[in-house]
Each structure stands twice: as structure tokens, then as C-alpha cells.
Amino acid sequence: MMSRVLLLTAAAWWFTGAAAQQIREIDREGIVQLSRLSNDTTYVINFWATWCSPCVKEIGYFETLHRKYAGDKVQVVLVSLDFPNQVNRRVIPFLEEKKITAPVRLVTELDYNSWIDQVDPAWSGALPATLILHKDKRIFMEKELTENELFEHVEQILN
């Protein structure tokens, strides 16, 4: 009986979680911590913005990745560099339109220079940029990815 209730609760949580997009804020410290994660989980961190056309083109691949590997120790995080005053007007409608369920973090530290090098010293600051982390492995790419490229990188790191 108890386990059935738990199962129902878990199912309800999963469904509501999948339906509604929750944007959380991330500050400098949060970005630095995120970029240094090193454990059994594979983190796929994509830096993007609604105004960046190559980002908009590739964001669906990250969502596919998020859905395909749900529960498989792959965690996709979409870090938005949209201006915080554009969230209601641009970011939320965009995520709803694209049916994005992967977690989204909104950068609140606008002094980019204070954290860009912490993500990767090779990053010039142009978007999109993607960081893949798994244990001591680390891949950083400052470019638009194809779906194949993204999946190949993740599968390579998983195997």
C-alpha cells in the first residue's frame, strides 16, 4: 500500500515536472560549481540565449538528449544568458513553444568576465558553448553542434 502511494506520488511529480518548465537562477558561485562537477554523472551544460540563432537551432538536440538519457546518469543543464529582465517576455514563451523540459538556469551575474574563465579559459564569450563533464573527463566546445556530434561526444564519454 505504502509503496503504491509512493509510486503514485513519484509519477505525479514526474509528470508535473515534465510539463512545467522551472527556471532557476544561477549566480557566479553556482556557475563555478557547475563547471567543476566531477562524479559518476555525465553533465552536459549548454550555454545559450534566445537571441542566439545557432543556440536556438541546436537546443532541440539537448532536449532529445535529456529525454533519451532520463534516469541514465546523464544530466542536461541549459544555462541561459538572456538578460534577467527578458525572462517573462522571451525565455518562458520560448521554452514553452519548444517544449523544453530539461532544467534551465538563468545567469544573474552579468559581470561575465568574472566567471567565463572559470567555465573554460578557452572560451571567448561567444555563444553557443557546451561543456561535458564526467569524472575527470572534460570536453569544452565553443561552437554550434550537430545532433550527431552531441550524441557522439556523450556516448564516447559514457563508454
Binding site: 540565449a49 537571441w51 542566439c52 545557432p54 544568458l81 538578460f83 534577467p84 529582465n85 527578458q86 552579468l110 559581470d111 561575465y112 568576465n113 568574472s114 567565463i116 574563465d117 572560451w123 571567448s124 564569450g125 561567444a126 555563444l127
Partner: protein, 199 residues
């Protein structure tokens, strides 16, 4: 064999050049580009100035828009002190129609740009400087008739809100040149829109 080696070397050099960015201390790269008023503007036209605030920027990018007024103010403030603004639009209009020469003319007229707004038609100049985003600043300093790169990076530390800025990197660099001090920092990074190019 020798030819193959030369070819390989040339390809390697070309690949390196694409990613190279001029650094503070390097010689500035001269240019001669078409302005929105139909005239041609060259870096050498500014040889009687103390320096040039070279800005790679564009019409539609939200960061360029957020900085547009600040770039106009920079020219108002520093042109008379010997550091005028020269703006270059590096985007390929086939990929970004809002950056066509006609759209640039319209934008410059509407916002009353006090500085030249040049089209990098062949996209060679932004590549030579190694600009990667808009807006991207290259502050040039007149060093006995030759321009040298003095500062590369962002205008300040808050793109969204001019009133929340705490570090004015570019103004600080100009101040350091005028007072003969060393520029610190001479290089910053910043987020911006990628420059639109087919190659």
C-alpha cells in the same frame, strides 16, 4: 615533398590566422572600408588622433543594442579628447539581413551616430583582428604615427544595465593612456552575439 610541406605549413598558418586575435601591444591592422555615408574611411585618416575606439558591432544583436547608446556617449565624451569611435559591422548580410548596408544606413541615421559605421564587406578585417562577437572593442593607441592595440574586450561589466556598471574597462584604459600609466586590465572577455560568417 618540399611542396607538400610548404602546402601543409600554409594550411596550418591559415588555420592559425583564423583563430588569432590581436593582443594588447600588437600592431593595429589597417583598413579601408565603406561608410554609411558612401565615403571610404581608413585607419590612416586618424593619424592625427591620440587613438581610436574600434568597435565591432551590428544592428540586431541584443548586446549591441544594449550598448548602442553607451557607444554614442563614448564618442561624445572622447572624440574631442583625441579618441573617436569607429564602428565596423562584420556580419554577412546573407546570414543576417538586418545587417545589410541599407539597414546600417537606416540605423545610423535613426540613432544619429556621430561616428562612422563601416561595412566589413569581405569580412577580412574582423578576421584579421580576431573579433569573435558583437560588440567587441579594440582600443588603438597612436604610437608615433603607428597604431598599436592597447586594450581588447568589453566596454564595461554590465551589458544589460548601464546604471549598474561598476567597472568601466574601456574608459579606464583610455584614462591610463592619457596619463601614461599601464593599462590594467588590458584584456577582458565578454558575452556577445557571434559574428555571422559562412566561412
Amino acid at each position: 615533398m618540399k611542396r607538400r610541406l610548404t602546402t601543409t605549413l600554409m594550411i596550418l598558418m591559415a588555420a592559425l590566422m583564423v583563430h588569432a586575435e590581436v593582443k594588447p601591444g600588437d600592431d593595429a591592422i589597417s583598413f579601408s572600408l565603406k561608410n554609411v555615408d558612401g565615403s571610404t574611411v581608413s585607419l590612416s585618416d586618424y593619424s592625427d588622433q591620440k587613438g581610436v575606439i574600434l568597435v565591432f558591432t551590428c544592428n540586431p544583436c541584443p548586446f549591441a543594442k544594449a550598448y548602442e547608446q553607451r557607444i554614442i556617449q563614448l564618442d561624445h565624451k572622447f572624440a574631442e579628447q583625441g579618441f573617436p569611435v569607429v564602428a565596423i559591422n562584420p556580419n554577412d548580410p546573407e546570414l543576417s539581413p538586418e545587417d545589410s548596408y541599407e539597414s546600417m544606413k537606416a540605423r545610423a541615421a535613426e540613432r544619429e551616430y556621430p561616428f562612422p559605421y563601416l561595412k566589413d564587406e569581405t569580412q577580412e578585417i574582423y578576421k584579421a583582428y580576431g573579433a569573435t562577437r558583437t560588440p567587441h572593442i579594440f582600443l588603438l593607441k597612436n604610437d608615433g604615427g603607428e597604431f598599436k592595440v592597447a586594450y581588447v574586450g568589453a566596454i564595461d561589466d554590465n551589458a544589460m544595465d548601464a546604471s549598474s556598471v561598476s567597472q568601466r574597462y574601456l574608459e579606464k584604459a583610455i584614462g591610463a593612456i592619457m596619463s601614461g600609466e599601464s593599462i590594467e586590465p588590458a584584456y577582458t572577455k565578454a558575452v556577445g552575439c557571434t559574428i555571422k560568417s559562412k566561412a
